[in-house]
């Protein structure tokens, strides 16, 4: 089997600095805000897991920071060859490079293309491969509304190995992305840009986001319960993105950005659209902090998609007992379990287990939360190894 591997080295950098993406000019803003690359770590995790699985195929990769740099520095045993693309010596990579590399993969007849990136990268990959070759996303973006992404780099390695052994189902899934122009007006509008052929392995490859939320009424019930019975004075609350958390602010008559992280203290706004470092700084001024988040429908992410400001560091400081999760019942029933993908396997495992989710007025539902890094410890793997019982 021949695997095409391409990396968007800047993907995901906008996340922790409170940007909704890293596409186009947003990258400069991300760099200005001091963002650090996230893709290299994801590639390394992917390659490690792939060796661990005993992957027997050949990797064909883009050159430099778009692939071969990581393979060259990698310690495990993997067979690979490098393309002379993008042209060596180029300092900044662009979407044109992605298109060029993927076209070359197609020309050389690779069996599967794995890319490291987010929705923007997925669109570029799709443009070049025109759904003729199956693609799999190794999640590294800020936005990942498309259905091509594995749950984590490790899950991607599972899927690739399963694929190389045959017997994995391929199907067309949505490649979606937010409308950046409307996002500036704080309006969430997601468009489907096309359909990519993807190896689908239940639990390991995450479906596209469910764009329909629950009913308004459910959200009010959730917000009322939270405000009346759970919210306390003298605690700093960070509200994550989404319409469910926004209902809480609406009920209190306060402003809330739809896609940002905002902070409330004693029923007043003390911060809007915060970055990870804003969150950490703000916390220093208060005795106790809590996080209120919602989940991403159908995909089931609790942390790691669209709310990267709640980084591993933030979550460690706040502590599990101070995290409230809100979701309408219909959204919750669209997922079998919830996922945490914060790039810190140790924390992900520590936070996994059964969580109470607030689903209505004085109503809670229990859901299993799994670490995206290490699904094979909890679930049957695509190559069929045994399932272990989750520890709570």
């Amino acid at each position: 089997m021949r695997l095409g591997l391409i990396v968007n080295p800047v993907a995901g950098m906008g996340g922790s600095v409170g940007l909704k993406g890293t596409d186009g000019e947003l990258l400069h803003e991300a760099l200005r805000r001091g963002a650090r690359p996230v893709a290299p770590l994801k590639v390394t995790r992917f390659l490690n897991a792939l060796t661990g699985k005993g992957f027997k195929g050949v990797i064909i990769s883009a050159g430099g920071s778009m692939g071969c740099d990581y393979l060259a520095g990698f310690e495990g045993v993997l067979r690979y060859s490098c393309l002379n693309l993008p042209s060596p010596g180029k300092t900044a990579t662009s979407r044109e490079d992605t298109v060029q590399v993927v076209s070359e993969f197609v020309r050389r007849g690779v069996d599967l293309i794995a890319f490291v990136g987010g929705d923007g990268t997925a669109r570029d990959v799709l443009e070049a491969c025109r759904a003729e070759v199956p693609v799999l996303g190794i999640p590294s973006g800020v936005k990942m509304y498309s259905g091509v992404f594995a749950a984590s780099p490790e899950a991607a390695a599972e899927v690739v190995t399963g694929f190389s052994m045959g017997g994995v189902v391929l199907d067309y899934v949505e490649v979606a992305d937010v409308d950046e122009a409307r996002l500036k007006e704080d309006v969430l509008s997601v468009r489907v840009y096309g359909y990519a052929l993807t190896p689908l392995v239940e639990d390991y490859v995450i479906p596209s986001k469910d764009f329909a939320g629950g009913s308004e009424e459910d959200k009010w019930g959730i917000a009322e319960y939270f405000v009346e019975e759970l919210m306390r004075d003298d605690v700093l609350y960070f509200l994550g993105p989404g319409t469910t958390t926004k209902a809480v602010a609406d009920l209190l008559g306060l402003k809330k950005t739809l896609l940002g992280v905002d902070a409330l203290f004693n029923r007043a706004v003390v911060g809007l659209d915060l970055s990870e470092s804003d969150v950490l700084n703000l916390m220093r001024g208060y005795e106790q902090a809590a996080i209120v988040v919602s989940i991403i429908g159908r995909q089931g992410y609790l942390f790691g998609r669209g709310n990267q400001q709640f980084s591993a560091r933030v979550l460690r400081e706040v502590g599990r007992q101070n995290i409230y999760v809100l979701s309408t019942a219909s959204k919750l029933s669209s997922v079998k379990h919830l996922l945490i993908d914060v790039g810190d396997p140790e924390l992900e495992v520590a936070l996994s287990g059964y969580w109470r989710i607030i689903t209505g007025y004085r109503e809670e539902s229990v859901k299993l939360v799994l670490p995206a890094c290490c699904l094979d410890r909890y679930l049957r793997t695509p190559s069929g190894s045994l399932q272990s019982i989750p520890q709570s």
């Binding site: 029933s333 287990g353 059964y354 109470r356 109503e363 809670e364 539902s365 229990v366 709570s392």
Partner: protein, 506 residues
């Protein structure tokens, strides 16, 4: 194969039937003087100035009207009603006949107890029998339905904890696969509802249960076998876990068809149970009610039961209202007595063979399950490879994906083949679900016919899906638009409401 066709009468509602007045106050000539005199003596304010707004029809018109309507409806007397969770068994005519006796239907709730000793004896025996069947110590027949019994149970749990001074017991745990009335009754009784998931083997996820158990836990509402028809094998461990936290175990016994005479909720560790007499014990339901929902408890909770209960003082049967911790009344008078009598007859005629009800139901269920689970596009949700008890749930998710035919389309197509469709889209944890229960009443021939109908529909879904999606066509009413059919603007419970809607316009 038998072709199914339902009558299609263009039958107006009773109030819009007929025209000219056919009703009058007919008095023989020889009494006309008395009649006039009586009328003239009546106080003016009780005399009507306008005609009453009731239908103006002759007897034959009324009979024909209802006969036509009956030809356009469907029930267990016409064919199988395999509605999961509803236990639509045949209602023996002997029970109907005896319970229609004037000595039952003409009883008045204010009659002196000395004049109703017979029916009190029936109620007393029912309290005893139901206690024996469920492994409990005392029952009250007050609740008029299952959900009312659940509400009583939740109130008992609340009062029990408050009596012990435990004000922090505010949470009721309910499996997410439970019947909707479980969380609803808990919420009505003032509890916070905590829902726990089902594990892949179809049983309650015991790790999730352990994770949420706390000193705030007031109780757990469970049904066993659960709504997937799967027996909770760790039930004793679950009871011990709850009791270890001083929380009570509530059994939703709406349907006992899977365990009757085989195992008893009381022995599993449950403290409170309600029973739907209109399911397991064959009093009619589904438009045919009224229901009856006995509630039974272990001896320690006896004083909490709703009143009155029937007691025997050695000489005669009496009503007792003096239970010291009673949660009060949940219904008028003594509950719904007629269905209680019907269930009494059902139990009395079966005697020790009551156990065969469960044995046959379980056999029928598994026979049908095996036939359906092998069909293309159909899968068993949860508990692969396990036997079911009184019911089972299949999923048409794969069929929908491959053909565009949904569980609802399959249900509509079954109607065309002379079967009432099973419960669909419940439990909520199974996508594209059919919840199927054939009870002990259906013969092997009928079950085979149902299985064949399913096979025919599924095959058709793969060859001509549009034919399935246009069903039903053999029924009195064709495919309804679900939204308008359920909208308050079209669903009118009374004629007065119909008129109000007409006044308001569309």
């Amino acid at each position: 194969m038998m072709v199914f066709r339902q009558a299609k009468w263009d039958e107006p509602v009773l109030f819009e039937l007929g025209g000219s007045s056919k009703q009058t106050f007919a008095v023989d000539d020889e009494f006309s003087g008395e009649a006039e005199e009586a009328l003239s003596k009546a106080p003016r304010h009780v005399l009507r100035s306008v005609e009453p707004g009731i239908p103006n029809l002759s007897e034959v018109e009324v009979v024909r009207h209802f006969t036509r309507l009956s030809q356009m409806s469907y029930g267990v007397d016409l064919g199988p009603v395999p509605l999961g969770s509803c236990t639509m068994k045949y209602n023996p005519k002997v029970s109907e006949e005896l319970a229609s006796d004037r000595r039952i239907v003409d009883l008045h709730p204010y009659q002196d107890v000395d004049s109703v000793q017979g029916v009190l004896e029936i109620m007393y025996l029912m309290q005893k029998w139901l206690s024996e069947i469920t492994g409990m110590d005392e029952c009250s027949l007050q609740p008029p339905a299952g959900a009312a019994g659940e509400f009583v149970g939740a109130l008992i749990i609340k009062k029990y904890h408050l009596d012990k001074g435990n004000t922090g017991k505010v949470e009721m745990i309910v499996p997410e696969a439970a019947h909707g009335s479980n969380p609803a009754s808990s919420a009505m009784a003032g509890f916070k509802v905590v829902k726990i998931p089902t594990a892949p083997d179809g049983e309650t996820d015991i790790e999730a249960l352990k994770a949420v158990l706390s000193d705030s836990t007031a109780g757990l509402m469970l049904t066993n076998p659960n709504t997937l028809g799967i027996f909770e094998s760790k039930i004793v461990e679950i009871s011990d876990l709850l009791h270890g936290r001083d929380a009570l175990m509530y059994y939703d016994g709406a349907n006992l068809n899977g365990i009757l005479g085989l195992v008893r909720p009381g022995d599993m560790g449950f403290d409170i149970i309600h029973l739907n007499l209109h399911k397991t014990f064959s009093a009619p339901h589904g438009g045919g009610g009224p229901g009856a929902g006995a509630v039974c408890v272990k001896s320690g909770l006896k004083e909490y039961l709703p009143v009155p209960i029937v007691d025997f003082d050695g000489r005669k049967y009496v009503f007792r209202y003096d239970l010291s911790r009673t949660v009060g009344r949940i219904s008028w008078f003594y509950g719904n007595v007629v269905p209680i009598v019907k269930s009494f007859i059902y139990i009395a005629t079966l005697g020790p063979s009551l156990r065969e009800v469960a044995e046959l139901s379980v056999l029928n269920t598994n026979y049908l399950m095996r036939k359906l689970a092998g069909l293309r596009g159909v899968s068993l949700a949860y508990g692969e490879g396990r036997w079911r008890k009184h019911e089972f749930v299949v999923s048409f998710e794969k069929l929908l994906k491959e053909t565009g035919v949904s569980a609802e389309d399959v249900a509509k197509a079954l109607l065309d083949r002379g079967f009432h469709a099973p419960t669909i889209y419940f439990p909520l944890i199974v996508k594209e679900a059919h919840m199927i229960e054939v009870t002990e009443s259906e013969s092997k021939e009928n079950i085979d016919a149902l299985a064949n109908a399913y096979k025919e529909v599924v095959d058709l879904a793969y060859s001509s899906p549009e034919l399935v999606k246009s069903s039903p066509t053999n029924t009195s009413v064709g495919r309804l638009d679900v939204l308008t059919a359920n909208h308050p603007k079209t669903l009118a419970p009374t004629y007065r409401y119909v008129e109000k809607l007409k006044d308001e316009g569309p």
